[in-house]
């Protein structure tokens, strides 16, 4: 198409690049040149004889790598390579009708490199901050039956093996069951949608506690019942656990953890081992911050339910203070490595919204 651009007049060959030519499928090569025209390229032997003029669309030009020979592959399998990067790039720019070279020696100019570096810092930070919201959106879109699937039969798995039978009096148990129904009815949960149930158990290490399993099972341990001084304290705890179920914290934690794992894989990848260690610690700390966020959400829900029932929303925190009376001020403040917020903060959470 642009054969007129090819010139073999001596001294006027600005777009001619010298190099070597490998025969198709052979390791033997001869010295040769190529001459670029607008949209075309032509082989020239060492004797000055011209080969066929090829359109640029017919040949393949390997992506350049700094300092390595430029390669041009002809449709017949011959490969031309040249060590003269500058001349090759200039001739190619002419052939492709570009006024400027595509890239500098390092591929990018300083301004672009700084902009890129800035973006490379801001983007992961932004994604990291936005991820919990996206993960919660994913969790919300999943049906409630998924929650059941995560924790299905979790209680049955642990019961008898990890948990021992509750030693509470039958009357206490029936009182607690009645209290539980009262709280469920005051919650935003649809009792038909979730298999809400209360189980009482005893456990050596976990006895001063209550846990919510994702399928709607709430396990209340004997120790907590024994230390409670009034019904409101236990009601607050049960309402807190209902809060975990209502806000689907198990599922959201799982989705957020998966998102966090994906981000670390993408941005840290297979780098030096020390960076991976740091990333692992960062992931752990971030997951704990999610945990504290969820605990606060459950506290706020607990307070809402308690107020609706005309009960004292702060009773639960008073129970926790009594439970942790030995740890003095340490339990009052949130720590970087704690799963729950400090008691002072939790008191503020349950107190907030009081008219």
């Amino acid at each position: 198409m642009a054969s007129s651009a090819v010139s073999d007049r001596p001294g006027r060959t600005p777009h001619r690049v010298s190099g070597r030519l490998f025969a198709a499928g052979s390791s033997a090569f001869i010295e040769a040149s190529v001459e670029f025209g607008v949209g075309s390229v032509c082989l020239i032997g060492v004797d000055g004889n011209m080969g066929a003029i090829r359109s640029l669309t017919e040949v393949t030009i390997d992506r350049p790598v700094v300092g390595l020979p430029r390669r041009l592959r002809f449709p017949g399998g011959e490969v031309f390579e040249s060590d003269d990067h500058d001349k090759f790039e200039a001739a190619l720019a002419y052939a492709e009708g570009r006024s400027k070279r595509k890239s500098g020696a390092l591929g990018l100019g300083p301004v672009k490199l700084i902009a890129l570096a800035l973006l490379a810092v801001l983007l992961p930070v932004g994604v990291f901050l936005a991820m919990p919201y996206a993960a919660d959106g994913v969790a919300r879109a999943l049906p409630r039956s998924i929650d059941n699937a995560i924790g299905a039969s979790a209680f049955e798995e642990m019961d008898g093996r990890l948990f021992r039978a509750s030693r509470l009096a039958p009357k206490t148990k029936s009182n607690l069951n009645r209290l539980f129904r009262e709280i469920v009815d005051a919650s935003a949960l649809d009792p038909d949608d979730v298999r809400l149930r209360l189980r009482m158990a005893s456990h050596k290490g976990l006895n001063d506690n209550a846990i919510a399993l994702p399928d709607g099972t709430i396990v209340l341990f004997d120790g907590l019942v024994e230390i409670a001084e009034n019904e409101d304290e236990l009601a607050g705890v049960l309402a807190h656990e209902i809060g975990h179920i209502e806000h689907r914290h198990s599922l959201r934690q799982a989705v957020r953890a998966a998102g966090l794992g994906l981000l670390v894989t993408i941005f840290v990848g297979d780098s030096a081992s020390l960076l991976e260690e740091l990333a692992a610690a960062g992931v752990f700390a971030t997951e704990l911050s999610y945990s504290r966020e969820f605990e606060t959400e459950a506290d706020v829900t607990s307070a809402r339910i308690m107020r609706r029932l005309g009960r004292d929303p702060e009773a639960m925190v008073l129970l926790l203070r009594r439970l942790h009376r030995d740890c003095n001020d340490d339990c009052e403040e949130s720590g970087f490595w704690s799963t729950h917020p400090g008691l002072r903060e939790r008191m503020e959470s349950v107190g907030a919204g009081t008219e």
């Binding site: 490998f22 499928g25 390791s27 090569f29 790598v65 300092g67 002809f74 890129l116 699937a149």
Partner: protein, 366 residues
């Protein structure tokens, strides 16, 4: 005419060509920095291109007899492989999280079998992908190893090593090297490797004896010694003893790592010295174990403490040393290699082994 014919007419005396690395750490660092930043802002997608570019830089600058190697893998194929790998990981995580334990009980043995029989396949395909995408002087390398050979060296041989408490480890490593090299071809010319066992066993025994001596010495010093030493130096505080122990452990770990290089170097040199290429060509390898250990450990340590910033520099330093101790003993000129199939050029380049590239992505992803 080839530049090599200038050396002399084809004779039967081998011509020694040293391998040289012509690149530099600065340029490589710039390539790594740019590809890393682009990978970050594209959520890792660009890393497929970056990986190819970095490998092309390293291989292209690895030269022998005036020519470098080239690498032709298609970044798109690598990318698809990585997506598949991420899909597999997410699938495993989701099934572990959401499937009830009784169903998982059925799936996990099946999954273990899949991993057992699938692993050699993935290793083989990944290897073939890299080898087939490598070329020298316009001739592609090829890998013609079969599945059961890969199964033997990745599953059965390591198992045998286990039941013989490691005594046949040198045999296993030799077997692995032979499986690889006896199946590699440069165009139509095959490589062949016979491994003498004595150099490997000698290095293995030296490594094992030194390793045991170091371990015994470490425990003898670290436990009772730390207290005696503490009282002798009149440093009673536990912090100082702990620091002493940490220093001792660090020295022990480094010394043990250095000792390990005795065997790996012997394996590398023995492989290099016994490797033949059809046409009467052979190779030389003269790596010094302690020099390599020093380069790898010191550069590796610096790369680690700089959180990977110096990793490109370390990579080049190690690569440069290994390359510089390698030689090709060519029988005449190197013009006579012929491609197995004439590469029709252009478009066909990226069609080589799409499946292999995906397997490679899966392998490196997990």
């Amino acid at each position: 005419m080839s530049d090599l014919t200038a050396v002399g007419p084809a004779s039967f005396r081998p011509i020694r060509h040293e391998f040289v690395f012509t690149g530099d750490a600065r340029t490589y660092f710039a390539i790594c920095l740019r590809t890393f930043l682009l990978a970050v802002v594209t959520f890792g997608i660009y890393d497929a291109w970056g990986t190819v570019e970095r490998r092309r830089y390293r291989m292209g600058n690895t030269q022998v007899a005036g020519h470098g190697f080239d690498y032709h893998a298609s970044p798109i194929v690598l990318l698809i492989g990585r997506f598949v790998a991420i899909g597999v990981i997410i699938g495993i995580q989701l099934s572990v999280t959401f499937l009830p334990p009784d169903i998982l009980g059925y799936i996990s043995p099946a999954f273990s079998l899949l991993v057992l029989f699938g692993m050699p396949f993935v290793v083989l395909r990944s290897l073939r992908f890299h080898v087939r995408n490598t070329s020298y002087r316009n001739i592609r390398f090829d890998f013609v190893g079969g599945y059961w050979g890969a199964f033997f060296v990745t599953i059965i041989a390591p198992f045998l090593v286990g039941i013989t408490v490691g005594l046949i480890f040198p045999w296993y490593r030799a077997k692995y090297q032979k499986y690889i090299w006896n199946n590699v071809k440069l165009g139509r010319s095959g490589f062949s490797l016979e491994m003498p066992m004595w150099p490997l066993y000698r290095a293995f025994i030296v490594t094992a004896v030194l390793g045991i001596l170091l371990t015994v010495g470490y425990f003898a010093l670290a436990f009772p010694g730390s207290f005696h030493l503490a009282s002798a130096l009149d440093i009673g505080s536990s912090v100082q003893i702990e620091l002493l122990l940490i220093a001792l452990t660090l020295i022990y770990a480094l010394a043990l790592a250095a000792v390990m290089f005795i065997f790996t170097t012997a394996l590398r040199n023995t492989t290099g010295r016994n490797l033949k290429l059809e046409g009467g060509h052979s190779f030389g390898s003269n790596v010094h174990s302690m020099k390599l250990a020093w380069i790898v450990l010191s550069r590796g340590l610096l790369a680690t403490v700089t959180l990977g910033l110096l990793l490109p520099w370390a990579t080049i330093q190690i690569h440069r040393y290994l390359v510089s101790e390698t030689a090709l003993l060519a029988n005449g000129d190197l013009d006579r290699f012929v491609a197995a199939e004439v590469d029709p050029g252009g478009a066909a380049v990226s069609e080589f082994g799409a499946m292999e590239g995906i397997a490679d992505g899966v392998f490196s992803g997990i």
